[in-house]
Subunit: 131 residues, 2 copies
């Protein structure tokens, strides 16, 4: 059952990739009030408001985030997934909180934000080094 | 008991303001593995690692975030606080996940990130408007 949290997390990113609003709608919790923080946005509270924000993002036609290296912490009927997201060249980090409702895991909270890109130091070119 | 989550959330920001590492240490969970996302940082996993990052932040002498408008969602032994943070002129948003350990609420996960500042449109000056 615990693995199902990570499966539901995958479904969330699949719905994003497919811009599937119906599936997305089925993934968010009903008995609690969902909340969502898109990168750089202020928090959004409420099921209708969260889904409207996703509809706008889908309609905007931008890139969908992909999920990497998810890890799960589970406490009772709550599962907290921490993962890296890639959005084109950008690296983000996401906290996804799932709650079990009638046996199914549903998103209660999504918080994604950018990780600052530290430019890599270019390798030293021996030809350019002083003798 | 549920209100205690918000009280513990306040203690977290008080420990930040006072750079009180002992209090900070007492606020993070022991039975689970704490995780932390400072603004723009990649995720930090593990109690020692999280506390070391806070020690470095305290030593750096920067501003401490203050918390505004926290809201709580509670599911069993988990409490999820969503709040605004102010760090000087910057506005951030934070997800703070607390877990109950032996009757006390402890931080399991902190994720803070900047909210993009949208410059306000200056009011139209009627003197500059065409007739």
């Amino acid at each position: 059952m615990i693995d199902d949290v990570l499966e539901t997390n995958e479904l969330f990113y699949a719905a994003f990739a497919e811009r599937d609003l119906d599936r997305m709608e089925s993934l968010w919790c009903v008995e609690q009030t969902p909340t969502c923080v898109h990168p750089g946005w202020p928090p959004i509270r409420g099921r209708a408001e969260v889904l409207e924000s996703l509809r706008a993002i889908f309609a905007g036609g931008g890139l969908a985030p992909t999920c990497e290296a998810p890890t799960l912490q589970s406490v009772g009927d709550v599962g907290i997934v921490l993962c890296r997201e890639r959005l084109g060249a950008a690296v983000l980090v996401a906290t996804n909180v799932f709650v079990r409702e009638e046996g199914a895991w549903r998103l209660l909270h999504h918080h994604a934000s950018a990780v600052a890109q530290v430019p890599e130091t270019p390798p030293l070119d021996p030809e350019l080094m002083p003798n």
